[in-house]
Amino acid sequence: MNSSKANILARLRQHPAPFAHLPAPQTRRVMHPLDDSTDLVGLFCAQAQKLSAQVSLPASPAQAIELILQLIGEDRSVLAWDFPHIPLHGLEDALQQAHIERAPDRSDGVRVGISGVDAALASTGSIVVSAREGRSRAVSLLPALHIAVLTTGQILPHLDAWLAHQQTDLAGFRAVGNHIIITGASRTADIGMELVLGAHGPAQLQMVILP
């Protein structure tokens, strides 16, 4: 054990532990309790929109692909997760047919990034993006527009619910190098407390929600 560590720990252990009579709360609460009857999809959409994220609920995968192609517009390359990780069958073919390439990971200057999500959180309008092989974290970070494709079944009530689920498999939780809970588009209020979207991360966040 190095000496600094030993010295610090020794000082912390020198006296009896603080807060000897610390009463634990009788029941554990979640920050944003929801009824079982809550419409999670509706709440998720409302909360995300409050944070200036765009939400669309296309009726079919074909409509979803059409929307994504519209958002890509004239661009000829996008950043994207490996397509099996995006729950939209046919997207890869559609991009190919439109001559839109997947740019190498971490390419700067690419305007659009397309990812799936690991979960979505209704009470805060958040998406959880866990980085794994083929699911680069740069996709939801470098482009100005992040398109997140998710299914209604991925929407959980809140952060407490997602973390409670992680606690059932802590080894799995730890195996992921980076979990990001994204709540709205990148923002700053550093200029005279005025809210501005698109500080360093994406200025625009588009959720595409499939049944």
């Binding site: 920050m31 805060t124 974290r137 973390l163 606690q167 200029i191």
Partner: protein
């Protein structure tokens, strides 16, 4: 950063006279405070219960701090972090410089971190010829203007939009731009290159979860993600008190922090880093546990709870003193009510004597604190320490001694009252040197009642006796 806290009064006067500082700070803090109240359900039973749940989570972690630090080190190491320990600011700086040398680093991108301000890391990097760029927009603006942050969460709160624009025109060559979003776009483009070229990213940290070895950051702009994603080496410095025991405790604290700080339900990027991974993050991750006086604070049971602080800034936003003076008046890294406690504890009362008195003890800081830290009580204890450790002015200590003697003796007390009354009648408050200092500069000393309480009591008692007879 040199400690200038002993000049609190002078610095506060300069800030207040400038006018623009209190105006910008007051506006910003009121806005943040209003949002906090909504987000924390302040004043409701649920809001209070969540606050107590958060308070418990932090105190539990402090209670088991040594064990949790060891557990965290083990888990972090399993996750691929190299964990280092620093007893002092100097040791922490040396760790960072050694890592930089090992990996041949010339360019560093940094995300906002109070502990790196505390240990003056940037100065050490610059001295070692390493380029370091702050990437939080507010911190960047301050860095290029050679200024220190004035708020824990909103570093440039003391500047109005016009002042920021003038700064960007002057230091970044920005043309006149009216719109704030276009100003941000200009900065975004300019700073993107920094992220892409940086070889090392430096961050602080909001929490380390002991049971999983996770480093947790809460950011809004995305620079924290850039800094932990793009450079090949990542170094995070974190105070030893930032440990939480479990994922469940983190769930509470990760939500209480942004709600208290900025009134957001969650920050835009709630970032959990579990070490090396295959998806293109850093190739080397270091985590440095920084003590730098914390274990000393821990050992004094009166002040241990100061280490529960989440650095949310809620106490700054509600404090009438901070709102008037801004953060620079406090003369060191940490301002506001928690700064008035932490700065004396970290730097010593001899360098920070006025700070425990930079409070009206109105109690608002305790009321808004998401982990219920009793800041007013600690300020009083520090005031006590100022007297007992003789940091105070001689005149105050001497007059307190006289006061003590007079109040112990009924005869002296009565005599003192009579003399003060007589003196006041003769206009002594005009020609005797003013012992009340600035208090008297803005107020007239109230006149005494024609008869003292004791005299009235004696008279009343005598009359009663007379009537009964």
């Amino acid at each position: 950063m040199d400690v200038q806290s002993n000049n609190f009064i002078g610095l506060a006067e300069i800030a207040i006279e400038q006018g623009t500082i209190p105006q910008a700070v007051s506006q910003g803090t009121r806005m943040a405070n209003g949002r906090r109240m909504v987000a924390m359900s302040a004043g409701t039973e649920h809001g209070e219960a969540m606050r107590q749940q958060a308070a418990y989570a932090k105190r539990y972690a402090l209670q088991h701090l040594a064990d949790l630090l060891e557990e965290a080190e083990e888990r972090l190491t399993e996750n691929g972090f190299t964990v280092l320990w620093a007893e002092t600011a100097e040791e922490a700086r040396q760790h960072v410089l050694a890592i930089a040398q090992r990996h041949h680093i010339t360019r560093v991108a940094k995300s906002k971190s109070m502990v790196t301000e505390e240990i003056a890391l940037n100065d050490a990097l610059i001295e070692a010829q390493i380029e370091v760029v702050e990437t939080d927009l507010g911190e960047y603006l301050l860095q290029i203007n050679n200024e220190a942050p004035s708020h824990i969460v909103i570093p440039v709160i003391h500047k109005s939009k016009d002042e920021v624009r003038a700064l960007m025109q002057d230091k970044m060559g920005m043309p006149y731009i009216e719109d704030a979003s276009e100003m941000v776009a200009f900065a975004r483009q300019r700073m993107r290159k920094t992220f892409l070229e940086a070889e090392m990213g430096i961050t602080g940290g909001n929490f380390v979860i002991a049971e999983t070895g996770s480093l947790c950051l809460a950011t809004n702009e995305g620079n924290g993600r850039m800094v932990t994603t793009l450079p090949r080496v990542q170094v995070s410095l974190i105070g030893i008190e930032k440990i939480v025991a479990t994922v469940e405790d983190y769930a509470t604290l990760a939500q209480v922090l942004p709600r208290s700080g900025t009134g957001q339900n969650l920050t835009v990027y709630t970032n959990i880093l579990n070490g090396l991974s295959v998806d293109g993050g850093a190739e080397h991750q270091y985590l440095i546990f920084v003590d730098n006086g914390r274990s000393r604070i821990y050992a004094d049971s009166r002040y241990t709870e100061a280490l529960a602080c989440l650095r949310c800034g809620a106490c700054l936003n509600t404090c009438p003193v901070y709102r008037s003076t801004g953060g620079h008046a406090y003369g060191w890294v940490y301002g506001g009510p928690i700064g008035a406690v932490v700065s004396p504890l970290l730097k010593g009362l001899d360098q920070t004597t006025p700070l425990p008195n930079a409070s009206s003890l109105c109690g608002s800081c305790k009321q808004v604190c998401p982990v219920d830290i009793d800041i007013p009580r600690m300020l009083l204890d520090l005031r006590h320490d100022i007297i007992t450790q003789h940091h105070g002015e001689f005149l105050i200590s001497a007059s307190m001694k006289v006061w003590e003697q007079v109040n112990r003796s009924p005869q002296l007390f009565e005599l003192g009252g009579k003399m003060a009354q007589l003196g006041l009648q003769m206009g002594a408050d005009e020609w005797v040197p003013n012992p009340l200092g600035d208090w008297k500069a803005y107020r007239d000393f109230p006149g005494f009642a024609p008869q003292s309480f004791r005299a009235q009591w004696r008279k009343h008692h005598k009359e009663n006796k007379h009537e009964q007879q």
